[in-house]
């Protein structure tokens, strides 16, 4: 086994470790650690897809969190407002599909608890339990959210075609802010800052490996997020190896030169936006169902800075490194969350850890442009190449010296 296979081997070991971990780990803080891992995977998906967008294709978009929000809000609204009922309510907007009725609940905003009940609740209380209303399946919401992310990605990708660098960053930041403002303002539909609740990922619980898991168990969402991460990494790896990866990198280095050499820059620029925003939207939708509440604050620029920082510290030009960086940083940030005392002064690490993190981000950028984890991977992958090159150069120099 040569050195260059070490990263692949390490990757397989890592995957195996994460696949087995929830079964063997059984300490008291099991739910906490599982929650950390799920959040870590979530950020890993975001960081790796952002590294494809920014590191590979050179499109420094600050709207990635916006796409997460689109995925999350699409599935939230879908599960919140659409139901199937065997009987007509005669109150809501409804359409007959076969012997069922597709019901669109009217939005009533945040005052639902007492004053004005929505049309479905009124119908339900009139039926008095005689009719069973079915909620929409969660997986359909997640798929819809992903598709919606793709549609918006297409739109943004088309709009930003003529924009580069700073203009692109500002435009995507603007998109994300408009989205956030709209979600906070349309209280009647999205409940604004109060946030909208979502059903459990598996509302009935699920039976896996002959064991029944309750809907509050962490293991099923863990595996859903884990497989989503693996799928995303797989797609990204495939894309990076195919001519797609080559073309987007050409686009990053010099858009005009790439176009002159026959790369369809329009298509690839739009395509990379669509793919990465679909990944972000899927991650956002799954995460929203796991956390079970989504507020417009999830789209804040702060969240975006976290993703950017994770990707940069991991290595923005290597999506695997970005993903690993995200998981490691999520863990470190959580572990640093305890306060300690120096003399009489209590140092509140919940804030200071973020300061340290910011300094780390700047120093990484300054002194190691490829992040911290990516050079380690490259060291193993390219080590032999460097050695060969040195040897060849030496030989060339020798022969050149000999001939002259």
């Amino acid at each position: 086994m040569s050195r260059q296979h070490t990263p692949q081997l390490a990757g397989l070991v890592l995957i195996a470790f994460f696949a087995v971990f929830p079964f063997v780990y059984s300490a008291n803080d099991y739910p906490y650690i599982m929650h950390l891992l799920i959040t870590g995977f979530f950020y890993a998906i975001l960081a790796s897809s952002w590294s494809m967008l920014a590191g590979y294709a050179g499109q420094f978009s600050f709207g990635h969190m916006g796409f997460t929000g689109i995925g999350a809000y699409t599935t939230a609204l879908f599960c919140h407002y659409i139901y199937l009922s065997p009987e007509a309510t005669n109150l809501c907007t409804e359409y007959a599909i076969g012997d069922q009725f597709l019901i669109f609940v009217n939005p009533i905003g945040v005052t639902s608890s007492t004053l004005s009940q929505d049309c479905l609740r009124q119908a339900l209380s009139a039926w008095d339990g005689s009719v069973q209303v079915t909620a929409m399946p969660v997986w359909l919401g997640i798929i819809l959210g992903t598709v919606m992310g793709g549609v918006f990605g297409l739109l943004i990708g088309l709009l930003v075609l003529p924009l580069r660098a700073a203009y692109l960053a500002l435009f995507t930041l603007g998109f994300s802010e408009i989205l956030r403002a709209a979600i906070s303002a349309e209280i009647a539909i999205t409940r604004g800052q109060a946030g909208i609740e979502l059903p459990y990922l598996f509302d009935q619980g699920i039976t896996l490996f002959g064991r029944h898991f309750d809907k509050t168990d962490k293991l099923p969402p863990y595996f859903v997020m884990f497989f989503l991460l693996l799928t995303c990494l797989g797609i990204l790896a495939w894309l990076a190896k195919s001519k797609f990866g080559l073309f987007v990198r050409a686009l990053r280095e010099d858009q005009d030169a790439a176009a002159a050499l026959g790369v369809n820059t329009t298509r690839y620029k739009v395509l990379v936006f669509v793919i990465t925003s679909m990944m972000a939207a899927a991650a956002g939708a799954v995460m929203a169902h796991y956390v079970r509440i989504i507020t417009p604050n999830n789209l804040m620029i702060l969240q975006m800075s976290l993703v950017v920082a994770m990707a940069v510290i991991g290595g923005v030009e290597n999506f695997v490194a970005a993903a690993i960086g995200a998981i490691i940083i999520e863990f470190t940030l959580e572990l640093l969350r305890n306060s300690f005392e120096v003399g009489d002064i209590v140092i509140d690490m919940t804030i200071w850890r973020l300061v340290i993190f910011g300094v780390l981000l700047m120093i990484t950028l300054r002194f190691s442009r490829n992040g911290i984890i990516s050079p380690i991977i490259n060291h193993f992958l390219r080590g032999h190449v460097a050695k060969e090159t040195v040897a060849k150069r030496g030989a060339a120099a020798e022969s050149a010296g000999g001939s002259s």
């Binding site: 660098a165 203009y167 408009i178 403002a181 303002a185 200071w352 910011g358 300094v359 981000l361 300054r366």
Partner: protein
């Protein structure tokens, strides 16, 4: 409140013809081998203002797109929207109530001057270094914090000008140090994509500064006392002060326009500093050197100007301008570590609208954005919704600018440095 369909009809009509106009006009000008740089803008505005008739005339004649053709269709489109709005909702406060309109406009202009001043710092940094500083909002926040601590916590009763000067000094030093430590590798070609590096590293600075202040000061809002009280004025007579009436914290003009003291003081100070800045840029050697570097780096270097030093000066000066705006506004708003985010966004909008790197553009853009926000908050019928949408108004302006005329009002082409990259 439901809007009559006619309003949405008019808006839909305008948007449709604007899109048609922008796309087809550009194609047509490209086809006829004419200058297309303003074609999309003129086409969309003419389409919005005059519909198919205007567009048909434009397409038939394809005239040269002069400044007059740039301005009037835009004015026409805005007027049309305003007219449709007034027609659709005649009882709205911002249609029926004249004094409300006057107050909104004057407030919009005053805030616009302050915004424009802050954006000036950003555009200065951009014109010299060729990067957009994402830490601009944090400099603004730190300026306010320093002014608050000096005037209210540490030395209560001291002249406010000391606090403002302290804020300027601290941020100037901070900006210079940051530039020396983190931005220098941009200049010598060691970094492949300097523009992206600049965005990311200032982004990191913003993150760090914001949490550093939150860790040291805490997350509770603070507020400085008023810097300056108005003298008591009653003009023309004490009995009937219809011209001007002041109390310590407020000023009322013509019985209708009410201007709060902190904002007025901030706007006046901004105008004064702006004049000083213009003097500095146009009359002193250093200022001229700064402008020379922004025009052409290499030529400036040949003429004996050290561009690296000018980079440091520009970054420090830009940050200081933001801090100055912050230290003037800390008496008007309550101050939090996160307070910089919205002004920073607004600055981005303004510099793009005015044209990245253009100083007069930043100032005019500031006033336009101030007016747009005042219109938005005043005219949207649902007050709560209007307030929630405040960050979006500017962003809509930004989006439209980038789509229709990416160079902004006074954009120019840059040469040298990181400018050639975009």
């Amino acid at each position: 409140m439901e809007f009559p369909n006619i309003f949405w009809g008019v808006i839909g009509w305008m948007i449709f013809w604007a899109v048609v106009g922008s796309v087809i006009t550009r194609r047509l000008y490209l086809h006829k081998d004419l200058d297309t740089s303003n074609a999309a803008f003129v086409g969309s505005m003419l389409g919005a203002a005059m519909g198919p008739i205007g567009l048909a005339a434009l397409w038939l004649k394809t005239p040269e797109l002069t400044n007059r053709l740039l301005v009037w269709p835009a004015v026409g489109a805005v007027t049309l929207i305003a007219a449709a709005f007034a027609f659709a909702d005649p009882s709205n406060n911002c249609v029926a109530n004249g004094s409300f309109v006057a107050s909104q406009i004057s407030n919009g202009i005053i805030l616009g001057i302050i915004y424009g001043f802050m954006a000036l710092g950003l555009t200065l940094i951009f014109s010299i270094l060729g990067i957009v500083s994402f830490a601009h909002g944090e400099f603004y926040m730190i300026g306010g914090m320093v002014a608050y601590f000096v005037t209210t916590v540490w030395f209560p009763g001291i002249y406010p000008i000391v606090g403002i000067l302290a804020a300027c000094l601290v941020t100037f030093a901070l900006g210079a140090a940051f530039e020396r430590m983190f931005l220098t590798p941009m200049y010598d070609g060691k970094i492949e994509r300097p523009v992206e590096y600049g965005i990311l590293v200032t982004f990191g600075l913003a993150f760090t500064l914001q949490y550093f202040i939150q860790a040291t000061v805490g997350a509770n809002p603070v507020k400085a006392r008023r810097f300056f009280d108005f003298p008591r004025l009653r003009l023309p007579t004490a009995e009937d002060p219809w011209l001007i009436k002041t109390s310590r914290g407020n000023m009322e003009l013509f019985d209708t326009i009410s201007i709060s003291n902190p904002r007025f003081v901030a706007a006046v100070a901004c105008v004064l500093v702006l004049l000083a800045l213009l003097y500095f840029l146009h009359r002193t050697w250093t200022g001229k050197a700064l402008r020379a570097v922004s025009l052409d780096r290499e030529a400036a270097a040949i003429a004996g100007i050290n561009p690296d030093r000018m980079n440091m000066l520009a970054f420090a000066l830009g940050g200081m301008i933001a801090a100055l705006a912050g230290s003037l506004l800390v008496q008007a708003f309550s101050w939090l570590p996160q307070v910089g985010a919205i002004p920073a966004m607004r600055s981005f909008v303004i510099v793009v609208l005015g044209g990245l790197g253009s100083l007069p553009g930043a100032f005019l853009g500031g006033i336009i954005v101030g007016l747009v926000e005042a219109t938005g908050t005043g005219c949207v019928p649902d007050a709560q919704k209007a307030a929630s949408y405040i960050p979006a108004y500017g962003m809509i302006v930004l989006t439209l600018t980038l789509l229709l005329r990416p160079t902004g009002l006074f954009g120019r082409r840059f040469s040298g440095g990181a400018h050639g990259k975009f």
